[in-house]
């Protein structure tokens, strides 16, 4: 098969012949040779990688950070109030995981980490152990930037490769991943109030104010982090409301986004054109049961179905 290419070989033929020319691995999967002679790993999709490349960057490795956090005793609550110890514990766990992720990226010489996904789950369904995993791909400029300081910490962003491309073409630079959280106890309605209100249409003002307050607290913390990072704005803000394993009356409001700053002081327009796509998304198979690359064909739908990605 490896007899050389024809002048007008199809792309398929070129792909097959290129693979046939490669010498198979001699030492198997568990080779112990040095890492430097190997390729790099990325969790970017092909589209993301091509756009990162087009923007002048290259992936320098898959980076990850983990944190397993023990949550101490939480006192009994009755009314509406924030449970500060839970808020602190979950934020700290996320910060530990992202700090490790940043350290790994720094060791790889990355300028930043794109596509950071932050997942949190109660280990074994237990309320006192939370596991946080942060994963993303470290990137670095293909050519060293003139103003790139070797001491600067890598930036983290939850933006996808596509979003990062658009952001950089628009003249902005991601500064940091900013987060805000609030774990809130929503007080229960007493028996007499329940009886009194059962047959009436009315706003449950206690519930309204509790949920509203919790959302505002989380968003204010996110804004505070962005301000501390000297950001001009925060893009890609995602919000989630999760009860984890605490039952329906304790909810965590979590907001996350990417703090950005303009490099030139003005927005550069991309001049977008309107388009109508005629391709409907198709899911290949059950995504939850697979760890392969089905998601590459339709990432957005898979992410929304699994609900695991915070990206």
């Amino acid at each position: 098969v490896s007899s050389g290419p024809k002048p007008n070989a199809s792309l398929a033929e070129q792909i097959v012949r290129a693979h046939s020319d490669i010498t198979p691995r001699s030492s198997g999967a568990l080779s112990t040779s040095g890492v430097s002679e190997h390729g790099v790993c990325t969790d970017l999709s092909v589209d993301e990688w091509l756009l990162i490349d087009e923007a002048g960057y290259e992936p320098c490795g898959l980076v990850a950070g983990a944190s397993v956090f023990h949550i101490g005793v939480v006192g009994v609550r009755s009314g509406n109030c924030e449970i500060e110890s839970l808020t602190t514990a979950l934020l700290e766990a996320r910060e530990h995981a992202t700090a490790t992720l940043r350290d790994e990226a720094e060791r790889l010489g990355a300028l930043g980490v794109v596509g950071v996904r932050l997942t949190i789950e109660a280990m074994g369904g237990k309320s006192h152990l939370a596991r946080v995993i942060a994963i993303g791909t470290g990137i670095r400029p293909k050519e060293r930037l003139p103003d790139q300081s070797s001491k600067a910490q890598p930036f983290l962003t939850a933006l996808s490769g596509q979003e990062f491309y658009v952001l950089s073409k628009g003249g902005y630079l991601p500064l940091a991943l900013v987060m805000g959280a609030c774990v809130y106890h929503v007080g229960r309605q007493g028996g007499p109030a329940w009886v009194k209100n059962k047959f009436r249409n009315l706003e449950l003002s206690s519930y309204s104010s509790a949920l509203y307050e919790a959302r505002e607290l989380a968003m204010a913390r996110l804004q505070g982090e962005a301000h501390a990072a000297k950001a001009q704005g925060v893009v890609g803000v995602t919000t989630s409301e999760i009860s984890h394993v605490w039952g329906s009356h304790v909810i965590e409001f979590f907001a996350m986004g990417t703090a950005v700053r303009s490099l030139t002081g003005e927005h550069r327009s991309l001049g977008p054109r309107l388009a109508l796509s005629v391709i409907d998304p198709v899911v290949l198979t059950d995504p939850a049961a697979l760890i392969g690359n089905a998601k590459r064909c339709n990432q957005s739908q898979l992410v929304s179905e699994t609900g695991l990605d915070a990206r």
């Binding site: 070989a9 199809s10 792309l11 398929a12 033929e13 070129q14 792909i15 097959v16 012949r17 290129a18 693979h19 490669i22 010498t23 999967a29 568990l30 890492v35 190997h38 390729g39 790099v40 790993c41 990325t42 969790d43 092909v46 990688w49 091509l50 756009l51 490349d53 087009e54 898959l62 990850a64 983990a66 397993v68 956090f69 101490g72 110890s85 602190t88 514990a89 766990a93 530990h96 790994e104 060791r107 596991r131 995993i133 994963i135 001049g271 977008p272 054109r273 309107l274 388009a275 109508l276 290949l284 760890i291 392969g292 690359n293 089905a294 998601k295 590459r296 064909c297 929304s304 990605d309």
Partner: protein, 314 residues
């Protein structure tokens, strides 16, 4: 990967293909059209599946000694007494400033036997899939997916039945002689087109596996019983090491520095046995891609920013 004998129903299905049975593909219609535009024709959906049973002993003889842990980033120190005894590494909080063990230590080590057992299952499933692919004269297998499932009533034990299944679409290039080593990839038709136009080609579908066990130290036990919030450092380190080893395993399967592994999200399997240990196994599947050095010239992307008029769910 060695060649496997196919079970009778698989042989029968493959034989029918050579006598004019219709081809099959797991690629969506649009992706299939792109594959045909590239010059590929779908031959058949190919499958490899393995059921395996085995034990994971707490600390069997032959556990790999420390050197591979030194690959893993982290503040690990070689405890002078304990390391001699078992080859395990302990964390620096377990050692006094003078380098003596404090008695607080927990053992943490890589599980090569466990990794090799899982590797064998994956290789066996891949070998079956490749046997099917070769039987239909495939030059490659695209859109590969791997599912790893533990069939055990108790998720907290490390032995039991595992099922590994892998499937994809075998493709051929009409006019080319059959390949003994078809390429394998988890990517679909559209992605192959974009890569090829940019001067890259798929090579192999690979899986990285990292298994690490932490034998709980007194400090960890105290933390678990504490009324205060706090990180369980040993659990964090076990998880972190497991991801790092799986990632290194994935990268080791590439053959040159220019290769790129397009990986899926890691999958974690966590076990705690009798409250005395904490095991994490991480698996990451990925597709190796590499430059088409001799055959193609890369073209730059001609990008037109568009705003889709399709309604999308937010």
């Amino acid at each position: 990967m060695t060649s496997h004998r196919l079970p009778p129903p698989a042989r029968e299905r493959i034989e029918k293909l050579s006598t004019g049975a219709p081809w099959s593909s797991q690629q969506p219609v649009g992706q299939e059209a792109v594959l045909r535009g590239l010059g590929f024709s779908a031959a058949a959906v190919v499958i490899g599946s393995v059921y395996s049973y085995g034990f994971g002993f707490p600390r069997p003889p032959g556990y790999r000694r420390a050197p591979r842990l030194s690959d893993v980033p982290g503040p690990w120190v070689d405890d002078p007494i304990s390391a001699k005894r078992s080859g395990a590494y302990v964390h620096d909080w377990a050692v006094t400033p003078e380098g003596k063990p404090t008695g607080d230590f927990g053992w943490t080590w890589e599980r090569p036997l466990h990794q090799e057992r899982q590797r064998k299952m994956v290789d066996s499933a891949f070998a079956k899939l490749l046997t099917e692919a070769r039987s239909v004269g495939a030059h490659g297998v695209v859109g590969m997916n791997l599912a790893f499932r533990k069939l055990s009533s108790n998720p907290n034990i490390s032995y039991g039945v595992y099922e590994v299944r892998v499937h994809g679409t075998a493709v051929v290039v009409p006019g080319l002689p059959p390949s003994e080593r078809p390429f394998t990839t988890g990517l679909c038709g559209g992605e192959l087109l974009k890569l090829a136009q940019r001067g890259y080609a798929p090579s192999e579908f690979v899986v990285g596996i990292g298994g690490v066990r932490g034998q709980l130290g007194r400090r960890t036990r105290r933390r678990l019983r504490s009324f205060q919030n706090g990180e369980i450092e040993q659990f964090t380190e076990v998880t972190q090491m497991s991801i790092s080893i799986a990632r290194r395993d994935l990268e080791r399967q590439t053959t040159n520095p220019g290769d790129l592994v397009v990986a899926s999200s890691p999958e974690f399997e966590v076990q705690r046995e009798l409250g005395s240990s904490y095991d994490v196994t991480t698996r990451i599947a990925g597709s190796i891609i590499r430059k088409l050095h001799r055959y193609s010239t890369a073209t730059s992307l001609a990008l037109t920013p568009v705003v889709p008029l399709n309604d999308e769910d937010w």
